[in-house]
């Protein structure tokens, strides 16, 4: 049996490790591994936290009041709460230099999925048409992951966009607003489907509606945004904890991997990492190396490995990310009602809108804004703050937000490369992104379509409140070392084995030849389990 080193403990890394352990391999995960803070008062609901914590402002706003968004803030619509700051804490490494792209890197134990919103959507054959694998190859692994992490959802109109796999738990309870939207859709769906191509249904979520192992079913405490206190929402740290109980598993935290070193036969021999605690340099030998550090971090390790071997600085072309548009809306039927803060806080509904083909559809996640901090939104209202607060209170129960996701394709103009330090210091990752020439048209069409669908649902999307997120914000980075059936440099095989180094596998978003509009984390996990299940 082989000794495998996996770089990164994110969603794909831990699923790969879990499957490789099952197959009898020895597995080591090397990771920086920032740790999450301890859960505070796990039995309290959101408002109980405000009432009972000795210092609620410390919990909700942070010691330096970093969660307060001022009118001239450069941050986005909503920042990350203090409880999730650990996800983006950066060790002492040179940050990427970027143009047209706002890269977000995570060095957390569990990776970026520690802050995800739990959307789990399998890709269909149309979306996988550029991949050397099809839905049939992934389906057993979708089912395995669904069983392992717990996926709630139901069979509804959205089946036309994402296949129905086994091991689904019942859908979560909807809050009053989501229920109202779904009821309206059911009443008018033939017209909505015909006129706008929109289909509405329950989201598929990695949040359990039934107890699963030692994880309790969602108890609707309304604390999702600040971190699920009961682990009902799956995060990779759950799987990591399970791996840690396995005798053939070891976890090496506090290490930042810089590159891989080769032996004389062009095989990778060892991994080189630097301690983020004391700067000590370590080497780890293994039979197989697996990059699952996220597309940008994996690209940097890959590029540096090539540079140190040959002195070549290459470009990894085809960087992709989902363009996201945030569209606030108002459901007038819900105005002037008391909202229920004790409900699920991420998207409970998803809307799919067919464009020219089912492959190119708009993936819209609908969140009913309830317990998010009010001040970032209130200050956007077109009144003085006093009137805005009053208006917000009246409208709160009817407010919602659609997160529109657009697909992306690989283009040569979008790439990552390396800029070595002239003084011999650590090299820097360079990220370049140019939107597609028809990007403006795509965005306008998406906005028009979604606004029209909302109107049919009896909702208003006020003009001027939309926010087109910068590229990089969705953190669905992909396409830099894609799957390919041809053994070309800087690509991987259908089993995600590098065509440049035969004992290297890459399992994060780098390997996607096409980026559908759906969240990719579920597919990353299923694919990681699939390739770990292959013979090597």
């Amino acid at each position: 049996m082989a000794h495998v080193i996996v770089v990164g403990s994110g969603a794909s890394g831990v699923q790969y490790a879990a499957m490789a352990l099952e197959r009898g391999h020895d597995v080591t995960i090397v990771d920086v591994g920032n740790r999450a803070p301890d859960t505070v008062a796990p039995d309290s609901s959101l408002n109980e936290l405000k009432d009972r914590l000795p210092d609620p402002a410390l919990y909700f706003l942070g010691n330096e009041y970093g969660a307060v968004l001022y009118p001239d803030a450069k941050e986005e619509y909503y920042g990350f709460p203090p409880t999730k700051e650990f996800i983006f804490e950066t060790p002492d490494v040179s940050p990427p230099s970027s143009s047209g792209f706002r890269p977000l890197l995570s060095y957390a134990r569990g990776g970026l999925a520690e802050a995800w919103t739990g959307g789990v959507y399998p890709l269909n054959d149309l979306e996988l048409s550029d991949f050397p694998i099809g839905y049939d190859d992934l389906e057993p692994y979708y089912e395995r992951i669904a069983e392992h992490i717990g996926v709630s959802g139901t069979d509804d109109d959205l089946r036309r966009f994402y296949p129905l796999h086994a091991n689904l738990q019942p859908a979560l309870n909807l809050d009053a607003h989501s229920r109202s939207l779904l009821e309206t859709y059911e009443e008018r769906k033939s017209r909505i489907n015909r006129d706008t191509g929109a289909y509405l249904g329950h989201s598929r979520l990695a949040t359990i509606s039934r107890d699963l192992g030692d994880r309790k079913a969602c108890d609707y405490k309304g604390r999702c945004l600040w971190g699920c206190p009961s682990e009902s929402l799956y995060t990779p740290s759950v799987t990591l904890r399970r791996c840690l109980q396995h005798p053939n598993f070891s976890y090496q935290p506090n290490l930042h991997v810089s590159h891989l070193e080769l032996n004389g036969r062009d095989e990778l021999q060892c991994l080189v990492a630097t301690s983020v605690v004391d700067g000590r340099r370590c080497r780890f030998e293994a039979d197989r190396f697996v990059l699952g550090a996220g597309a940008l971090s994996s690209a940097k390790i890959f590029l540096e490995t090539i540079f140190r071997r040959s002195g070549d600085i290459v470009k990894l072309k085809g960087l992709m990310d989902n363009r996201q548009i945030l569209m606030p809306f108002l459901n007038p039927r819900l105005m002037g009602r008391q909202y229920d803060p004790e409900s699920y806080q991420y998207h409970q509904l998803t809307m799919g809108i067919e464009l020219d083909s089912a492959r190119e559809y708009l993936h819209c996640q609908i969140t009913t804004l309830t317990t998010a901090l009010a001040h970032p939104l209130v200050q956007k209202f077109p009144f003085d703050l006093r009137s805005s607060i009053s208006t917000f209170r009246n409208l709160r129960s009817g407010l919602g937000l659609v997160n529109i996701n657009l697909h992306d394709r690989r283009r040569a103009s979008n790439y990552v490369t390396l800029r070595p330090d002239v003084d011999g210091g650590p090299a820097r990752l360079i990220v370049r992104y140019h939107p597609a020439p028809n990007e403006g048209h795509r965005i306008r069409r998406a906005i028009r379509k979604v606004r029209s669908a909302l109107w049919q649902l009896g909702c208003l999307a006020p003009p001027g409140t939309m926010h087109i997120r910068p590229m990089g914000a969705s953190v669905h980075y992909a396409g830099t070392i894609p799957m390919s059936t041809r053994p070309e440099s800087f690509t991987v095989s259908s089993d995600c084995v590098s065509h440049d180094f035969e004992n290297l596998q890459i399992i994060d978003g780098s390997i996607f030849p096409f980026l559908p509009s759906k969240n990719i984390t579920f597919t990353l996990m299923a694919n990681a389990a699939r390739v770990a299940d292959s013979d090597f």
């Binding site: 002037g336 008391q338 200050q379 009246n394």
Partner: protein, 460 residues
């Protein structure tokens, strides 16, 4: 002397002063009850005898545990100011009854009840606060506890709510007096009131009596306001009398519909209609000759304002005005503490980095909630990133996560789509009107500041 004390409303205006005084007294333990978490909650702070706990007098579950072993309860918790009648009765009357029952069950022996001189006003028809406090007094008298009731007159200090009200009436170019101004008052400094309370506690004076506690000097309302004006302007004031006859009935009529929008209630004008003086026969005698005279009181306050007003106090005042502007509430100590703390930590809030216009807008807005409203409207359109807006956003973020205020932001103000739509339309109309008004008021100042900055930039 009482060994173990339990103070309700310990985080309020008088409560804070009392707790501060008790730190230096030889009591075994002082348990301070506050409706919201105190920064020193549940801990013995700075080695003193004070212990802060969170609870509501109306909820026996939150108080009974802390009343065990207590000898004396000092009952300061009360709802004051512009509140709805039912809320006054719920907290002041019913809350006191429930607290008395809890005390009885826990074996508390003595009860010091802080009432108000307003309970003896001849007519309290439109003053639910006074009626609710009178009901509370009766509940205390009917209880089996050894008790003392004190009725302070108008309590004054640099940070007292009544002082802010007087200042607003008298510190401007004109002095406004409701009615003829002949009603008699006997203001008492908060330190003197607290000294009386400490005296009662130290000497175990619980003989089921009622003391009326005022300062050592009586004056009329108009003379008092004129002296305040003189402090700030060193000249005799131009007094504008606002007749009570049309004002009170108008306020009474408007309260039924527009209670939340009114700047004050008819009841709050009662001190302009009735004498607020202590009966000499019921006075607490021991400290009469050490009390501050009106002149000493006013000079002390002015001295504090002119020379001793620290950054913290300015921020507290600012925070109070801004909270009143944003949600018609008063901030508690927790919010004040974080408001001050954020000004230390968040560089965006630093005055030193602000422009002349920023400073002018902040100063104007912190004078009065009505000016805040105008500044708010103007800056929303013409200076959306002004310093004062950042302060409001910070405050709003504190209000929405704090125990005492988050529920204010949670509940809708209007129910039903039709009412909300109408409220939305009214908000739009009001905003346009205020924008016009504020543009006339602040536009020239804004242009002048921008021009001045531009000239300075060129010279540099």
């Amino acid at each position: 002397m009482a060994d173990r004390l339990f103070i309700t409303g310990a985080n309020g205006f008088v409560g804070r002063h009392l707790v501060e005084q008790l730190r230096h007294q030889a009591f075994e333990q002082v348990t301070c009850l506050s409706t919201r978490s105190h920064p020193d909650n549940e801990s013995v702070n700075d080695g003193s005898l004070c212990r802060w706990v969170t609870g509501d007098i109306r909820d026996p579950r939150s108080t009974s545990e802390h009343l065990e072993g207590v000898d004396t309860v000092v009952h300061l918790a009360a709802l004051t100011g512009k509140q709805r009648a039912e809320d006054h009765f719920s907290v002041n009357a019913e809350g006191t009854r429930i607290l008395l029952e809890s005390c009885h069950r826990a074996g508390v022996r003595r009860f010091l009840h802080v009432s108000t001189i307003a309970v003896k006003f001849r007519d309290t028809t439109h003053y639910p606060y006074a009626r609710s406090k009178l009901e509370a007094e009766e509940a205390v008298r009917n209880s089996s506890l050894q008790h003392t009731i004190i009725r302070p007159t108008i309590v004054v200090s640099a940070e007292s709510p009544s002082w802010h009200a007087f200042r607003q009436l008298a510190a401007g170019p004109l002095t406004f007096v409701f009615g003829g101004g002949a009603t008699r008052i006997q203001p008492i400094h908060v330190d003197d009131l607290v000294a009386c309370m400490v005296g009662i506690l130290r000497h175990d004076e619980f003989a089921d009596t009622t003391f009326e506690i005022g300062g050592c000097e009586q004056t009329t309302m108009e003379r008092f306001l004129s002296r305040i004006h003189g402090l700030y302007h060193q000249r005799r004031p131009t007094v504008v009398h606002i007749p009570l006859w049309p004002t009170v009935p108008c306020l009474v009529a408007a309260e039924t519909v527009f209670h939340d929008m009114l700047p004050l209630t008819a009841g709050q004008l009662s001190p302009f209609q009735h004498d607020s003086t202590a009966d000499r026969e019921k006075a607490y005698p021991q400290l009469e000759y050490t009390m501050k005279s009106v002149t000493e009181m006013l000079d002390g306050i002015l001295e504090e304002e002119r020379h001793g007003e620290t950054q913290a106090r300015m921020l507290d005042r600012e925070c109070r005005i801004f909270t009143s502007h944003l949600i018609d509430c008063q901030p508690d100590e927790y919010i004040l503490k974080h408001y001050r703390d954020a000004h230390q930590k968040v560089w965006e809030l630093g005055h030193s980095r602000s422009s002349t216009f920023d400073r002018a807008m902040t100063s104007l807005a912190s004078c009065h909630p009505l000016l805040s409203r105008l500044v708010d409207t103007y800056t929303r359109v013409f200076a959306p990133t002004a310093l004062v807006r950042k302060k409001w956003i910070l405050l709003l973020s504190l209000l929405e996560v704090s125990a005492s205020t988050h529920s204010v932001l949670d509940a809708p103000q209007q129910e039903g789509s039709t009412r909300v739509t109408f409220a939305l339309l009214m908000a739009g109309v009001r905003f346009m009107f205020l924008l016009l008004l504020s543009s006339i008021a602040f536009g020239p100042l804004h242009v002048a500041c921008i021009s001045g900055a531009s000239i300075r930039h060129r010279i540099d």
